[in-house]
């Protein structure tokens, strides 16, 4: 526990500061997103060493949650998906001349929720890690499978398309050496592919290069930004009083949603908004510029970001693209997240958690007085920013293995990412399939070997059986519902025919 104070060393404080500033800027700028930005700075963080490097990456992750609200309120342009819902009431508040108060409430809500989720993370992660020590291959297989199936159901849009992306990611993960026997697969004699497709190159391509191509296809106009004076940042006593209940509800709700695989921060903000519209005393005002519509969702998306760290730190399983990049960073720094992280690398574990506290304070102090500056970042024309993103993508991809093949992978992933987005496919499930593919494969093959070929081994323990049953229900329920609908429609038309 004393390792928490590792976060207070000058180097780690600097890494945390750089991370949260970068994260806030990424949150402010529409497009790139935290996962892409984290992938781009990986070469830099590796040089900082495991603790400082991971503190910086984590800072980008939760800093982006803060930054996203700024442009939602001031410009009506959400910096990232988790802040979309904040535009509804936040921008209307700005038009009423209460932009400063909305920004302050958003920052306070983010701070409260971020701090709560860190406390909960600090208490829950070691407990879950101890629990996970009893997990064998069948439990890990069931958990990872449940994770990807839930994810495909929660990403929005077509479930079939999301599942197809997850499976494509798993297929891409089979390129290179197989995790148990060492057989080289699907490399087609390309030497650079023997170590597998670089996760960083794929992420940089799917999120970075694809974003540049999409911006070229449809350049976004820069919006004018409302000026906010420091004095205007003080919310009124009434606004503060009204913000407390939605902030608390959003915090608890967001943390719980964060534990579920999928785009938790985005879902949490929408769920919180929906809850406020139902239970708030001022629900009739929500949608017209009510402070509850800012406090609840902003608390929820920050709490969800903390909740999402629990499966990563205690089980080694990431369920969002950002935590997947964090996992990749950890592996590159020879730190294996999971049940043994606390035992093998206590400084890294507690250092990262400690940095969350420090980062939350930094973000609160940064976001209130510097909000005008951050909002102005959103007005920089993309034609100046995006060409530089391409070079950062190339550096990130190349430096992963010092291999030109990875630059090809980045270019391929970028073109693929641009094409699939145009066809209505979400690249996030593909990234998670790529990360979780080896976990699924290794645990499946180990479970089969332990069970001497008996498939029953996969559901031999109660946790594995419950998780597999849940996965089956989630997977098959929509198909069963569709069949039932067809059957009832058939019966109805048959009945009409005979009547």
């Amino acid at each position: 526990m004393t390792d928490l104070f590792v976060a207070l060393t000058p180097m780690n404080l600097l890494a945390c500061f750089a991370g949260v500033v970068l994260g806030t800027i990424v949150g402010v700028l529409p497009g790139l997103g935290p996962a892409g930005a984290m992938a781009l700075v990986l070469p830099l963080t590796i040089k900082l060493g495991p603790t400082a490097g991971l503190i910086m990456l984590a800072g980008i992750y939760y800093g982006s949650m803060y930054g996203g609200s700024t442009t939602s309120i001031l410009v009506n342009v959400p910096g990232e998906a988790a802040s979309v819902v904040t535009t509804i009431d936040g921008y209307r508040l700005a038009r009423k001349g209460r932009a400063g108060a909305a920004l302050a409430i958003a920052a306070i809500a983010s701070f409260v929720a971020g701090t709560f989720s860190v406390v909960a993370l600090q208490l829950a992660a070691p407990f879950v890690a101890r629990l996970a020590l009893a997990f064998g291959p069948s439990e890990f297989f069931a958990f990872a499978l449940l994770g990807v199936i839930l994810l495909a159901n929660l990403t929005g849009g077509s479930r079939v398309k999301s599942l197809a992306m997850v499976v494509t990611g798993v297929m891409l993960s089979t390129v290179g050496m197989d995790p148990l026997g060492g057989t080289v697969r699907f490399t087609f004699d390309v030497a650079g592919a023997q170590a597998g497709l670089s996760f960083i190159a794929v992420t940089a391509g799917l999120f970075g290069v694809a974003e540049v191509l999409a911006t070229m296809a449809q350049p976004a106009a820069t919006a004018p930004v409302a000026r906010v004076r420091f004095r205007a940042l003080y919310p009124s006593r009434e606004e503060l009083r009204r913000s407390v209940p939605p902030m608390l509800r959003g915090t608890v709700l967001g943390f719980l949603v964060g534990l579920i695989p999928g785009p938790a921060a985005t879902i949490a903000s929408f769920v919180s908004y929906g809850v406020e519209k139902r239970v708030s005393r001022y629900r009739h005002e929500i949608g017209t510029g009510a402070i509850e519509g800012v406090a609840g969702p902003e608390a929820a998306n920050n709490a969800a970001a903390g909740g999402g760290m629990i499966p990563l730190l205690s089980l080694g399983l990431p369920f969002t693209p950002s935590t997947a990049v964090l996992l990749s960073g950890m592996l590159l720094m020879s730190v294996t997240p999971g049940p043994f992280l606390l035992r093998d690398h206590p400084q890294v574990f507690w250092g990262v958690i400690g940095s969350f506290y420090v980062g939350n304070v930094m973000l609160l102090l940064l976001n209130l007085p510097l909000v005008g500056i951050f909002a102005r970042v959103a007005t920089i024309p993309q034609r100046y920013l995006m060409p530089g993103v391409l070079v950062l993508c190339a550096v990130a991809a190349y430096s992963d293995n010092n291999n030109a093949f990875d630059v090809w992978v980045m270019v391929g992933a970028g073109v693929l990412g641009y094409a699939i987005r145009g066809l209505g496919y979400d690249p996030a499930p593909l990234v998670l399939g790529l990360v979780l593919g080896p976990v699924l494969e290794r645990s499946l093959l180990q479970a089969l070997t332990i069970g001497r070929g008996e498939l029953r081994e996969l559901w031999s323990s109660a946790p594995a059986a419950i998780m597999l049953a849940t996965a089956a229900v989630v997977l098959l329920a929509p198909a069963a519902r569709a069949c039932l609908r067809l059957w009832t429609r058939g019966r109805a038309s048959g009945g009409d025919h005979y009547s």
């Binding site: 089979t174 090809w408 066809l423 593919g437 008996e454």
Partner: protein, 146 residues
């Protein structure tokens, strides 16, 4: 885009997935399945290929005659196409010409394609980005760049 052409696009994307799955399954035949007790390296590729094929067929059958527009414009814009070709050229020439020259050209072309007019401003941006990246990653952080 009309609902009919959106539906056609959905069908083509499902067919593309099916072709990918079939190609992957064909290539995966090279790896042994062995037995369930001693599973070989071909088991997961087989399962993944079959799953993708099934999903592609499911999607193909589920496409209504007029699918909702996924948000893509009718004609493919020229700039992303040109940029994709330039990126491929960048990947091919990076090990030969080195980081500075290729990255300068990449940023210059990207800036021009994004609407940065004239020659001086794209050139200044390209020089700034390339030199800053070289200094930050190459000189300061010691990241080996080609």
């Amino acid at each position: 885009m009309s609902p009919r052409s959106a539906a056609r696009r959905e069908q083509w994307s499902a067919l593309g997935l099916a072709v990918l799955a079939l190609g992957y399954l064909l290539a995966g035949r090279a790896y042994p399945l062995d037995t369930l007790a001693t599973p070989g390296p071909g088991i997961v590729p087989l399962a993944a290929g079959v799953a993708l094929l099934a999903l592609a067929i499911w999607q193909l059958l589920a496409v209504p005659r007029s699918a909702p527009d996924p948000g893509h414009r009718g004609a493919v814009p020229r700039a992303p196409l040109i940029m994709s070709a330039v990126l491929a050229l960048y990947a091919a020439t990076l090990p030969v010409l080195g980081f500075m020259l290729t990255s300068f050209a990449l940023v210059f072309v990207a800036a021009r394609l994004m609407g940065l007019d004239g020659w001086w401003r794209p050139a200044a941006l390209a020089l700034g980005v390339t030199v800053a990246s070289r200094l930050l990653f190459g000189a300061w952080l010691g990241v080996p760049l080609p």
